[in-house]
């Protein structure tokens, strides 16, 4: 049934360029456990539902015999005890299966995974920081997650403002990001591919536009991404991009954003160092294309009303220059 | 009525009043005691929830609330049970003179209690805006104060009532008995609030 459900997911999820958000995808350990549990629960609950329907239809269609009322009452009494026993058994089985699934996942994941990522929720974007415990290096990005397949990762979840919830359905269950608390979520990706997650706790006006793009890749691909991610920003390659660079460094942009290797070191907004290599803009609001970059920079409030990036007001030349610079930040 | 009837017993000789759970008033009062009791119980749960998050209680650098006003208040309010019990028993034997005198006393006794309550607020040693500890301490004290004020109002009105012609009705004696029962809830709930505000912070230091 899991395969069938996954097929269902693929049928409905044309996937686009941002990967499936279906929870039957089974790309992570918990995701697979979920699919298995779902199959079991569906079978058991479906069976009991069938009993109820058959019982109901029987009662509606069959006419009682006047002289057999006492027998009927006795039969109903026996039926009652059987039903009660069956329900108790069924619920106990499902409860135990649920506990077992939980313990299995816990057993299969190490207590201290070596890969650690801190995810901090903001209205309405994800601040993602990888830390290498050995070298002390930090890789900061936003609204995306690259993970090596088969390697457990511990996510540390915090919030800067309100309650958010981190959720990549293909990988596994969700966990809330609560201001004043630190929550942990350990995931174990088991399948490569591109996937999408979304904030799953109403967090204000643009809750609908707080997605995260997830890439599960082979280990060497991940290492390459990591190395590229640690490198400073690509310098502007042509005069137009240089003009854009100038604008970004001297105007409001640098006070909120960090572009490593440049003077821009604001931490209020997302890190833009490798912006152009991401799949989407504005935490899933737009796909990463030149046209959408134009739209975002020209009017972030029009794109995602209420978000924290103010309307800056660039004229056409400044806009072309800034976008030329930004699309070079691979 | 639509169906013809058959007479099967007469009710004319039944009384028009009864004390305790026989009276409707009792059920109303108990109902509201359960509601308010639940409200208090949840406040107590919130108190311990907030306590659980702190390293020390009160959190540094706050001192526990000063003991004097609260303790004198507690002693005085427990003593009010004496006239209160007198009133309840007098009501249940329809002794109007004792009820009237007792109710006047019970209407005046809360006045020094309110003064002491004022001093209690002033000696909490924390403000409601300071932190969650301050907020819950003020919430406990304020909730009980509202309790006290409303029951004092009830008692005062009942006192006035018992000096009118209505005071001679059987059901007004039932009301008096129920009012005394409710007062027990007011000081009974205070005992727990007192421990939480004043003593738990001291026991945990």
């Amino acid at each position: 049934m899991t395969r069938g459900l996954r097929g269902l997911g693929l049928t409905f999820a044309l996937a686009g360029c941002h990967g499936t958000q279906s929870m039957t995808e089974g790309a992570g350990l918990q995701g697979v456990q979920f699919s298995n549990l779902f199959t079991l629960f569906s079978a058991v609950t479906g069976f009991f539902y069938l009993l109820v329907i058959v019982g109901l239809i029987g009662g509606l269609i069959l006419r009682p015999r006047e002289d057999r009322t006492a027998e009927g009452e006795k039969a109903a009494g026996v039926g009652f005890m059987t039903w009660l026993g069956g329900v108790l058994l069924g619920l106990t089985a499902l409860t135990v299966a649920s506990y077992v699934a939980d313990r299995n996942v816990a057993a299969a994941t190490p207590a201290h995974p070596t890969l650690e990522v801190q995810v901090t929720g903001n209205q309405w974007w994800w601040d993602v920081t990888y830390r290498n415990a050995d070298t002390g290096q930090e890789l900061r990005t936003a609204n995306e997650l690259h993970l090596p397949v088969g390697v457990p990762v511990r996510l540390t979840l915090k919030s800067n403002d309100v309650i958010h919830s981190f959720w990549v359905p293909a990988l596994g269950g969700k966990q809330d990001l609560i201001p004043g608390r630190t929550n942990m979520l350990t995931l174990l990706p088991t399948q490569t591919g591109i996937y999408r997650g979304q904030c799953a706790e109403f967090c204000g006006a643009q809750h609908a536009h707080m997605a995260i793009d997830v890439t599960i890749e082979p280990r060497d691909a991940f290492r390459r991404w990591w190395a590229a991610g640690l490198a400073p920003a690509v310098p502007p390659a042509n005069p137009l991009a240089k003009a854009g660079y100038q604008f970004v460094m001297t105007r409001q942009c640098a006070s909120c954003h960090t572009i490593s290797g440049t003077p821009a070191s604001g931490r209020v907004g997302p890190d833009l160092t490798h912006l152009a290599s991401r799949r989407s803009i504005g935490a899933g609001t737009f796909p990463m294309t030149r046209g959408h970059l134009f739209a975002w920079v020209a009017d972030p409030q029009g794109a995602k009303r209420g978000n924290q990036m103010p309307y800056v007001g660039l004229d056409a030349d400044q806009l072309r220059a800034v976008v030329a610079y930004l699309e070079g930040l691979k | 009525m639509s169906l013809p009837v058959r007479f099967d017993g007469d009710l004319a000789d039944l009384p028009t009043h009864g004390f305790g759970p026989r009276s409707l008033t009792w059920w109303g009062i108990v109902g509201f005691m359960v509601v308010e009791g639940m409200f208090f119980a949840l406040l107590f749960a919130a108190y311990f929830f907030i306590l659980d998050k702190e390293q020390t209680w009160p959190p540094q650098p706050y001192a526990p609330p000063g003991l004097l006003a609260g303790t004198v208040f507690t002693m005085l309010i427990v003593l009010t049970e004496i006239p209160n019990a007198v009133i309840k028993r007098a009501a249940e034997r329809f002794d109007l003179r004792t009820v009237r005198k007792g109710l006047v006393v019970m209407s005046l006794l809360p006045l020094p209690l309110f003064v002491l309550r004022g001093f209690e607020f002033a000696s909490l040693n924390v403000l409601w805006t300071d932190n969650a500890y301050g907020s819950i301490q003020w919430a406990l004290l304020l909730t009980h104060t509202i309790h006290l004020i409303t029951d004092w109002g009830d008692t005062a009105v009942l006192t006035a009532l018992m000096f009118t012609e209505h005071g001679k009705e059987a059901n007004r004696f039932v009301d008096t008995s129920e009012n005394s029962a409710y007062w027990r809830f007011v000081w009974g709930s205070w005992l727990i609030v007192y421990l939480l505000i004043y003593w738990v912070p001291r026991w945990l230091t």
């Binding site: 409905f12 929870m23 995701g31 009652f80 359905p169 609560i178 | 169906l3 039944l14 300071d130 932190n131």
Partner: protein, 636 residues
């Protein structure tokens, strides 16, 4: 004593009824409407008002479905949509679901237990006005574009002062205060009515199942509503006077809100469900011609549900990071709470097997209830499991689950109950033809709307999103759900038309058109103001089926003064003759004073102090006793 007129051999029939009518009627016209304390009149206005809010909530739902029919629709802005979904949930839960259940109980319970009025009838009047004023506060706020927009459960810190500035959340929180004062008041009235006003012979073990359901529900209301009252008071004080209950920076905790809120809100859904099971029991009994199978098991199931419902609230918080061992307990308890419901389902089906079903509209709604509610119950079993819930929580799967249990489990029985008791409320029968048309449209439409949401959720669509991207694979399912909503609306409109057309017909319904067994069918449709000319005796579980052609009654209650019989709590032995309160304007005036205090206090704390004065005046005038009934002994 001989001058006191009492019913009996010397005073019966038309003359008795005329004098009783005079005693128990209220003044004509607007003044009478304002001052009435008649439970039937107040129950009817409560029902009208609650159903109006159901329609308003349904309009909001239609708007939401219009927006979500297409991806990136742009029909409604994010801010407006967030207000709309908040208002939809808030209206349905606080202004419709619980009030309508209480409303029908206010009307039916005194009749079903065989008495003349609800206990504390002035409080009943007061509670209606308080409910109405709270509802108006919310809706006027919404229409003025300052309605709440942080979700019907208002998680902090989103709903706190920093992230929800302005009056929106204050309006929501104060509306809660209004509606829970009203709800608690009605619960106390119903509890006292059921325990003290039952007809002689109706011991606890012989009460109809609807009465048991309302008794348990009322106790649950009394125990759970204070939690949301406390939570909303804490939220208001965080927002308005600077307390730090939910502020993590000052050692408060956002989760304190969730615990207090869900400690209330989980029992709340059973507060909505249990009365519906009462409807189902009465309808199944009447339309199969026999008592519901295994009465003791049914009663125990109600008690068990009430009790267990207080032990599951943490299942709404499985994703918040609390200790896993604690979660295991809540999985077990959440599974356990399904057991009493499973018992009830068996017993109803067994009753149908053992009886002779009549396929009237109320009975059809019972069938739809069983078929639909059980689906919701089973998806509930799924989300009781922590690993399952961590995927399914906050997705459209949960939206499907709770609509299946709320609409299948409460609204279908409600529509059946309205149809069933309509002749008693109004003296007319609803049209069976229109009723069946509405039934099919509503039931089919409901499933077309909500079944796909199980799939939408599993494909990853979260809740409370004002739009969604075009290529997630959710388009077709959302469109289907939106089309289903149109079908529901058609059915709803036919139901409403049925009601209005019926009300235009002349009265003519019989006292007992369906052949029911309980005491509300022993009096006219609609009942006279005094309900019963003589105090009925309940001879067993099914009084009207036990007697052949005469109703046994007791005589001796006063005729020219309002008097009701109080019986003992367990055995219902006649005990006291109770002087029943008369019409008065003070409940309305007090409710106005209370509304001024509550609404004023979201603008200034001084409103509490200043507003207390007229409120005190109102309460004193209200409680000041009337002159005693004439010529009874007084104590010197």
């Amino acid at each position: 004593m001989s001058e006191i007129a009492r019913d009996g051999e010397t005073l019966k029939g038309a003359e008795l009824e005329e004098r009783l009518a005079r005693t128990w009627s209220r003044a004509p016209g607007l003044w009478g409407w304002i001052t009435t304390v008649d439970h039937k009149e107040i129950g009817r206005r409560y029902i009208w008002t609650a159903m109006t809010f159901m329609v308003l909530g349904g309009i909001l739902a239609a708007v939401m479905r219009a927006q979500l029919a297409r991806p990136e629709s742009g029909l409604i802005s994010a801010d407006r949509y967030n207000q709309i979904f908040t208002m939809h949930g808030t209206t349905m839960m606080f202004l419709f679901a619980v009030p309508v259940m209480e409303a029908i109980a206010i009307y039916i319970i005194p009749l079903m237990v065989g008495t003349r009025n609800i206990a504390f009838p002035r409080l009943n009047a007061f509670s209606y006005w308080t409910y109405l004023f709270g509802a108006l506060l919310l809706w006027v706020g919404f229409i003025l574009n300052i309605g709440p927009d942080a979700g019907w459960f208002m998680y902090t810190p989103l709903s706190g002062p920093q992230f929800s500035p302005g009056k929106r959340t204050d309006i929501w929180a104060q509306m809660i205060t209004f509606t829970e004062v009203a709800g608690i008041a009605v619960a106390v009235e119903l509890t006292a009515t059921i325990l003290k006003f039952r007809a002689p012979g109706m011991s606890l073990g012989k009460m109809p199942l609807f009465v048991w359901a309302i008794l348990i529900t009322s106790i649950m209301i009394i125990l759970s509503l204070p939690s949301v009252a406390l939570a909303s008071a804490m939220l208001l004080s965080d927002r308005l006077i600077g307390t730090q209950f939910f502020n993590a920076f000052e050692h408060g905790d956002a989760l304190l809100w969730q615990h207090l809120f869900w400690f209330f809100a989980h029992p709340e859904v059973y507060i909505i469900f249990l009365p519906a099971t009462g409807f189902v029991s009465q309808i199944v009994e009447t339309f199969t011609g026999r008592r519901v199978f295994a009465y003791p098991a049914m009663v125990l199931a109600l008690v068990a549900t009430g009790f267990l419902s207080f032990g599951v609230w943490v299942h709404h918080m499985f994703a918040t990071g609390l200790p896993r061992l604690g979660y295991d307990f809540y999985t077990a308890s959440s599974m356990a709470v399904a057991i009493p419901a499973a018992i009830q389902i068996f017993c109803w089906i067994a009753t149908i097997w053992l009886g002779r079903p009549r396929f009237t509209v109320p009975f059809l709604y019972v069938i739809a209830f069983i078929v639909t509610f059980v689906i919701g119950g089973l998806s509930g079993v799924m989300v009781a499991s922590v690993p399952m819930d961590l995927e399914l929580h906050d997705t459209y799967f949960v939206v499907a689950h709770f609509h299946y249990v709320l609409i299948g489990g409460a609204v279908f029985p409600l529509l059946g109950a309205i149809t069933y008791w309509f002749p008693k409320f109004s003296g007319r029968m609803l049209s069976e033809g229109l009723g069946k048309a509405a039934f099919w449209l509503v039931v089919v439409g409901f499933n077309v709307t909500f079944f796909p949401m199980h799939l939408t959720g599993m494909l990853g669509m979260p809740r409370r999103v004002y739009t969604y991207p075009a290529d997630m694979g959710w388009n077709g399912l959302n469109l289907l759900s939106s089309l289903g909503a149109v079908v529901i609306w058609l059915g709803g409109l036919i139901f409403i038309a049925n009601v209005f057309l019926a009300l235009r017909r002349p009265r003519g319904a019989a006292a007992n058109p369906w052949g029911g067994s309980s005491l509300e069918w022993a009096t006219d449709s609609p009942p006279p103001p005094y309900n019963f000319a003589h105090q009925p005796i309940a001879t067993g579980h099914t009084p009207l089926w036990d007697v052949t052609d005469v109703l046994p009654v007791m005589t001796g209650l006063r005729v020219d003064d309002r008097e009701q019989l109080i019986t003992t709590a367990i055995e219902a032995v006649p005990d006291i003759r109770y002087p029943s309160p008369e019409p008065t304007p003070w409940p309305l005036l007090s409710a106005i004073a209370l509304a001024a205090l509550f609404i004023g206090s979201i603008f200034t704390p001084w409103a509490v102090v200043i507003g207390a004065v007229p409120l005190a005046v109102g309460f004193i005038a209200w409680f000041w006793p009337k002159s005693p009934p004439s010529k009874e002994p007084v104590i010197e």
